[in-house]
Assembly symmetry: C2
Homo-oligomer: 332 residues x 2
């Protein structure tokens, strides 16, 4: 139902750009499924993308990311801009569909035509989240959204990597020491451009602020030492909107910093580089699998299963003819 | 400090098999770092592995996985067996080290020489969790552990996949509807061999049981339709140990089922197959990156950044000479 012929792509994009919600949904479903059509859509989108600014909102389940995202939507709408939200978070009510629909605050925006919300499943799908997410952002950018909020659960290898790939990443924690320890163990300290202590109406904010500062002092410093951005720490109460304006200002300050110092361009280049590597890896893997017949694959996995060979040795056996056929490596 | 020469491998394995905790730790650190030494260790381990049974414990942060894992450790110890625990869960006190050390119940086992606990970071490292985890399990198997408990956070693409790769997977939920919805969205319904409603001293157990049964009835059924395992639902109170014996019995019933029906062998074969694919993908990706010089890569990412070409087209440009050099694909 959702598929479309390649020649329809221009029309679907035009409809989406004109505001057709069904067309937007179709494009994102195509991206989510992966394969040739997703590549074509991503290809088409690449020609029209490049104007959007992405803000990531990440943190542990229950930290209040969705409520904050909802508040940021309101902030952007008050500026008169439209906004798209990509929810990559199984705990997000955004991705809850009808099940949680009537229970949640963010339905504030459900009838606002200037807000487009889309969830992407954490569960495995062709190409994986690490390929689908940048392609989905590119499509939302190409159909005209200047602001894209990406809500990502701050747990999981792929998810934390995606969270760190936004133009500005907000890491949400709650008052209480355990939450910061968990965020740190999940690798969130390294991806934070802005820290948000949400639910700041609860006790322990001062201690959390102190602990967070200590943790930051212990961290290895910015990935790019020429850029001296110090992540600010903003206290918010998502459900009352307290502090949300300051959070937005911090995001805009980080944006200004990124633009004026060139760190934004460097970060986007790194992101494209990661995406390229991911596409190449998937493509070559597929090609390598085609190179061995089902029987050979079954025999090698059987041998690896019984310990006759290790998986590494089995992989070497499969790769040997492939690698021999490649042109020689250039001198370093 | 942790590295060792290849020729030492036999000695380090022998020491680890004899119970030397430092040697065990060194082997797992080598696996965690990835690369040639990790491959050698995995290779060596493959010759001595194949006797361990792995039980995965997964669920959302805060579901009580660590407390249950601790209770299962006690269960195994009462049988007189030794046990290894691999914690792949940023919310796990197991992986908290000294920071949370004095606050947690599982330090019950800290001085028990028959229990070996090791955490693996969620944050990115060479090779990634999806490669390091099976290799770590193989090493623990090879050094003599018959039981390996793998505690994984049930959020995140890679983590849920790892959770589903155990011989028996226990999915832990708590009373309350939201938790089941979240588990379902994260893809945990599909990987569960056994459901555990933990914290069953809280209200809402009957409703959760009913909701879980409804959810199971809606799910697409077992991945292998010839194997009619129906995931049992066990209620537990982790901190009192209530229901833990039943949880263990359910795991053993699933083990018996897997052994007698051949589903265990099929699952292990699938696991090896996944690992092979992952190794091949990483190796080819590395090779493809060597094939282009820094300048070419920079130019292509620059073009992709400015929208002159899409990442897919850039990947095609890099892959074209590589794919041409490969032997022709066999007939399907």
């Amino acid at each position: 139902m959702l598929a479309f012929a390649m020649r329809d792509l221009t029309h679907v994009f035009a409809a989406a750009q004109a505001g057709d919600v069904t067309a937007k949904g179709r494009l994102l479903s195509v991206i989510e499924r992966g394969g040739a059509q997703a590549n074509a859509a991503s290809e088409f989108a690449a020609q029209h993308a490049g104007s959007a600014y992405t803000i990531g909102v990440t943190g542990a389940p229950g930290a209040g990311k969705s409520t904050l995202t909802s508040a940021l939507i309101g902030q952007i709408r008050r500026l008169g801009d439209e906004v798209a939200v990509l929810a990559i978070d199984p705990s997000s009510p955004f991705s809850g569909g009808a099940i949680l629909g009537d229970r949640i605050r963010m339905q504030d925006h459900a009838n606002d035509g200037g807000v487009f919300i889309r969830s992407m499943a954490t569960r495995g799908h062709a190409g994986g989240l690490s390929l689908a997410t940048p392609a989905a952002i590119r499509v939302l950018d190409a159909i005209g959204y200047r602001w894209i909020l990406v809500e990502t659960v701050g747990v999981g290898q792929v998810e934390v990597e995606i969270a760190g790939n936004a133009d500005s990443t907000i890491v949400v924690v709650n008052p209480g020491w355990g939450d910061i320890v968990q965020a740190s163990k999940a690798g969130l300290m390294e991806v934070a451009d802005i820290f948000c202590i949400n639910k700041a109406d609860r006790p322990g904010v001062a201690e959390t602020l102190r602990d967070l500062r200590q943790m930051l002092a212990l961290s290895p410093g910015p990935p790019d030492p020429t850029a001296h951005w110090r992540p600010p720490i903003i206290s918010t109460v998502g459900h009352t909107g307290e502090g949300v304006a300051q959070l937005w200002d911090a995001a805009m300050a980080h944006r200004e910093f990124g633009t004026s110092t060139g760190t934004l361009d460097r970060r986007r280049r790194e992101r494209i580089s990661n995406e390229l590597r991911e596409i190449i890896a998937r493509r070559l893997e597929q090609r390598a699998r085609e190179l061995i017949t089902g029987a050979q694959w079954a025999e090698l996995t059987g041998q690896a299963l019984t310990g006759q060979i290790s998986p590494v040795a089995a992989a070497e056996a499969i790769l040997a003819p492939v690698l021999r056929s490649l042109p020689p490596s250039p001198m370093p």
